[in-house]
């Protein structure tokens, strides 16, 4: 890497940082295994092309080295190919190769691709062009007979209606007998009801019911939380049962909350989207990845959701702190942040973009206003300007630098290591913090120091 200081900057721009490469890993084990392979030792015949291919031979335990090639130029994200038997995508060899490449030119020089890498790239390019021509946005929604699809939708709506009615009955029974009884009844009661909602094809209702089951064991104040959630579930049931009388926007919100699929048919917004945060939550069935984007031109904040089967990483991965030019389309429904990522025009690149921030009072008000459109909202995305992390007894809060007001952090945020990164970054001085602001408090997800510098990931 001798001599690559400032003139190397442009190359570094395209090259991803090690953190960003590691963010592509499907799980922690791959991250660790990949970072160990991100050094020159096991590699030979490494190279990269102007077209965005990176390749190399990695010495494994067998006699033949593994052939690893990555297409990094594809705007839909990197694609990987490796001759190793691993089923993980990307495998540790692909991660190691990208780390090596992230390290600099000396380890992965520009070169002529070997035949095996060239063939795979050519195959990909061919398929991509074919696919691009076939799937222009908006064309061919669904398949088959529209009449049959309509009948299917009607049958499903009837089932959900039956489910919602049954759920209303169960809630009424619960309130008649008292929530105190729910504490004794335990989890089984809720699991059974949740299963009924799954049968009713209302996964949104099922998930809410399941969460009700966890509340009685969630510590002091549980009756208040349980009543709140029961009431909101009742409100959702009533919303569904009376959806004909609701405005269209709110109907769409209710449909989404109940768990009906919808498509991102909002207008495509082309913008420079800064990746604010990416984090996964997992339960026994599903891994959910949430990616927050901020559009520099539109000023919009959008949420991308991506799912993976239990124990597997969701497909979509974007490097936090970088920005890409792309189209993003909103899902229907009032007060919804969810959007889908459409065509990408540039790979993610370093950026000086930072979202503008507000005070804590404004952030709390913003959550309150958002409830007008969607009363079931847990939180809204907010950037706080000039706030300082301050300890408050056993918990922490984010206090306005100039005012005497503060937002408490959510209980979940206290348990994350990101809290300490935020405190360390601040050092008692004001920082800019992006996160989710809701009735439980604020969950910090990314922060920027007072001086220029990239976003620091907190999740």
């Amino acid at each position: 890497m001798a001599g690559s200081t400032f003139d190397g900057m442009t190359q570094q721009g395209v090259r991803r940082s090690a953190d960003q490469v590691l963010a592509l890993a499907p799980d922690a084990a791959s991250r660790k295994a990949g970072s160990k392979l991100g050094v020159a030792g096991p590699w030979s015949g490494t190279g990269s092309s102007e077209e965005g291919a990176v390749w190399g031979l990695c010495k494994g335990s067998g006699s033949e080295p593994y052939r690893t090639v990555v297409d990094i130029a594809d705007v839909t994200g990197p694609a990987y190919q490796c001759s190793c038997p691993s089923r993980k995508v990307p495998c540790k060899h692909a991660l190691g190769l990208l780390l090596l490449w992230a390290g600099g030119e000396s380890a992965v020089p520009l070169a002529q691709a070997p035949d095996w890498a060239e063939q795979w790239m050519a195959g990909r390019r061919g398929r991509a062009e074919g696919a691009g021509a076939a799937a222009s946005p908006g064309s061919a929604p669904g398949s088959g007979d529209p009449e049959a699809a309509r009948r299917r939708a009607e049958r499903r709506a009837e089932r959900i209606t039956a489910g919602a009615t049954e759920l209303e009955q169960r809630l009424a029974d619960l309130l008649r007998g008292g929530l105190a009884g729910a504490e004794q009844a335990g989890y089984g009661l809720w699991e059974e009801t949740a299963a009924r909602m799954v049968d009713a094809q209302a996964p949104g209702l099922a998930a809410r019911v399941r969460e009700l089951g966890a509340i009685p064991s969630s510590g002091p104040g549980w009756p208040v939380r349980l009543l709140e959630e029961c009431a909101l579930l009742h409100l959702l049931d009533q919303g569904w049962l009376g959806r004909e009388r609701l405005p269209d926007d709110l109907t769409a919100t209710v449909r989404a909350r109940v768990g009906l699929p919808s498509s991102a048919d909002g207008p495509a917004v082309r913008d420079h989207w800064l990746v604010l945060s990416q984090y996964d939550t997992a339960d026994t069935r599903l891994t959910t990845r949430r990616i927050w984007l901020y559009g520099a031109g539109s000023g919009r904040t959008a949420l991308l959701l991506s799912y993976g089967a239990a124990g597997r990483a969701p497909d979509l991965a974007l490097p936090v702190g970088l920005a890409l030019e792309a189209e993003v389309s909103a899902y229907p429904g009032a007060g919804q942040s969810r959007a889908a990522l459409g065509e990408r025009f540039t790979p993610p690149e370093p950026t000086a973009i930072r979202p503008p921030g507000v005070t804590t009072s404004r952030a709390a008000a913003r959550y309150g206003e958002a409830l007008r459109d969607d009363p079931w909202l847990e939180s809204v995305p907010v950037t706080l300007e000039q706030v300082v992390p301050v300890p408050d007894g056993d918990s922490w809060q984010l206090a306005d630098a100039e005012e005497d007001t503060a937002l408490p952090l959510t209980p979940a945020a206290h348990r994350r290591p990101g809290l300490w990164r935020l405190v360390a970054l601040s050092g008692g001085a004001p920082v800019k913090v992006f996160g989710e602001c809701g009735h439980q408090g604020f969950t910090p997800l990314a922060a920027w120091p007072a001086e220029p510098g990239p976003a620091v990931q907190l999740c």
């Binding site: 953190d19 050094v39 503060a406 300490w420």
Partner: protein, 539 residues
């Protein structure tokens, strides 16, 4: 956040009524504003839904708690970007997350953190603030990392450590609990901290002062000596080891009369390290009567007459009268006398011979082991390179490899008195003759990165071990050291060792493959270390 107050008191009241009704059940308590009966639960849920959304929408920020004092400025320049990324990777490689078992070809990143920290500290870079939690966690798990990690982490880490009980260790490790020590010139504050500070603060103060102003530190200690507790006196006395000088003698002589035996022993040890001290002279006088050259035989020979008693004077000079179990008391006393006698007195006593000649003399009646071991301890204590060289002997001598008069542990200590170049040459010679099986402790004494001749000796010996057909894990200790200590510039010389050799008949099955793997890891680690050094130089 707080719920709406003042104007909303009635509303809050309704909510509490609702919660009570919900908890008890509408059959037992009719909720406010609802008719009792079948419709009551639904009416309660309706009202509760409105109230829930109302309560959430009305949330306001809380009053802020008391602000933290700002972290002190870190004036050091920031890390170069590539080095910062490297640090993140090294810190991400936590021990305990590995699957265990065979190590494979991948480098052990956590093992490289110490030298990364040393290099970053040598260049005076500041740690990126967001890495401080991981640095503190790493230092918490590994005490050997603490000094370098805390130096690198800098003042902000101490500020941070005060906020998290997991990181208390950082405050204990740092002088004065993180507060800056007063400068030696600031005598009032020094005096105040010495008289009022906590024990750890006082130890740190004394050590810092001693490093800059030996006399001032001794005088400070003497001023309160008689009022200190015995275990504190021991720790304070120990800090005089730094910058020990003849002027310390009166104070140390006085400490020889201390009530505590441990304090007396430490004072005697320090005095014996001052060859010009009265104690050293007394010990020399005693030792010299025990050892003589006998010229009556065909060749001159050393004879030893160990002391017959341990008198009060010897005891006062720190000789411990009672030997440990299994040792004769006379040889125990002899050892203590000889190790405390200045080495410079022996040539005159033993016929004007040089240290080499003295060590070469035969010793009568099996006293050689005892005598030479005592001289070794003296050479280490008095940091006498000439005697150390004589006692070490030639590294290629056949007896150097076996269990000779001087044990490996003693040899390692003797090597410490030589300069780095001489040390490396001696160990290189030792390995070239005796191989690696006994070399681990000696290698640990050598300066990092290893001198070229030493590095080559190690690589050659590994190569020989491989050709001999043994498994590499018999040498895992030396391999691990080589990964951390071999000069990265040597990586190119190892290329020939990376291939899997043809298996010879007497080799252990599969050994060739494991060796290739071990050498790959070695080369990979060396390349990684070279890259790390380069990244830090970029700043």
């Amino acid at each position: 956040m707080t719920t709406p107050t003042s104007a909303d008191v009635p509303v809050t009241g309704i909510w509490e009524e609702l919660v009570t009704s919900a908890l008890l059940g509408t059959d037992r308590r009719t909720p406010p504003g609802c008719a009792p009966g079948r419709a009551a639960p639904t009416a309660l849920l309706d009202t509760a839904a409105v109230e829930t959304v109302r309560r959430r929408a009305g949330l306001r920020p809380a009053r802020s708690a008391e602000r933290l004092e700002r972290a002190p400025e870190d004036p050091r320049p920031p890390l170069p970007a590539a080095a910062a990324r490297r640090l993140t990777m090294l810190l991400a490689d936590r021990p305990g997350t590995a699957g265990g078992g065979r190590r494979g070809t991948a480098p052990d990143l956590m093992e490289l953190l110490p030298q990364w920290l040393a290099a970053a500290n040598a260049r005076g870079f500041a740690a990126p603030p967001q890495t401080l939690p991981a640095l503190l966690d790493a230092a918490r798990g590994r005490t050997d990392l603490r000094p370098a990690a805390l130096t690198f982490a800098g003042p902000r880490a101490l500020w941070l450590a005060r906020l998290n009980p997991d990181w208390r260790f950082a405050l204990r490790a740092a002088p004065g609990g993180g507060a800056a020590l007063p400068r030696p010139e600031d005598t009032d504050r020094v005096r105040q901290l010495w008289e009022e500070g906590l024990f750890a603060e006082r130890v740190a103060l004394l050590a810092a002062l001693r490093a800059r102003d030996a006399v001032g530190a001794r005088e400070l200690l003497a001023s309160t000596w008689s009022t200190e507790r015995a275990e504190d006196r021991l720790m304070f006395l120990d800090s005089l080891r730094t910058g020990l000088e003849p002027e310390d003698e009166p104070f140390l002589e006085q400490a020889l009369a201390d009530r505590s035996r441990n304090v007396r022993a430490t004072a005697a040890e320090l005095l014996s390290a001052l060859p010009g001290s009265a104690l050293a002279a007394r010990m020399a006088a005693r030792a010299l009567t025990c050892v003589a050259v006998d010229r009556t035989g065909t060749a001159p020979m050393i004879t030893v007459e160990a002391p017959h008693e341990c008198d009060a004077g010897m005891e006062r000079d720190g000789v411990i009268p009672k030997p440990p179990a299994g040792r004769g008391e006379r040889s125990w006393w002899l050892g203590q006398l000889v190790e405390s006698a200045p080495l410079g007195t022996w040539p005159a006593r033993l016929g004007g011979r040089t240290p080499e000649e003295i060590v070469a003399l035969p010793v009568a009646d099996d006293w050689q082991g005892e005598l030479h071991a005592a001289w070794c301890r003296a050479a280490v204590r008095q940091r006498d390179a000439a005697w150390a060289r004589a006692l070490l002997g030639s590294p290629t001598a056949p007896e150097a490899g076996g269990p000779g008069a001087v044990s490996l542990a003693e040899r390692a200590k003797l090597l410490g008195t030589l300069d780095a170049g001489e040390r490396a040459e001696w160990v290189a010679g030792f390995i070239a003759t005796h191989g690696l099986s006994e070399a681990f402790q000696l290698l640990g004494m050598c300066a990092v990165p290893w001198a070229p001749s030493l590095g080559r000796a190690v690589v050659d010996a590994l190569n020989i071990a491989r050709d001999a057909g043994s498994y590499p894990w018999s040498f895992s200790g030396v391999m691990g050291l080589a990964e951390r200590c071999l000069d990265p510039a040597e990586a190119g010389r190892l290329d020939g060792l990376l291939a899997i050799p043809d298996e010879s008949e007497d080799a252990s099955p599969g050994a060739g493959g494991y060796w290739a793997e071990a050498f790959q890891r070695l080369v990979t680690t060396l390349r990684l270390r070279a890259a790390m050094a380069e990244e830090l130089r970029a700043g």
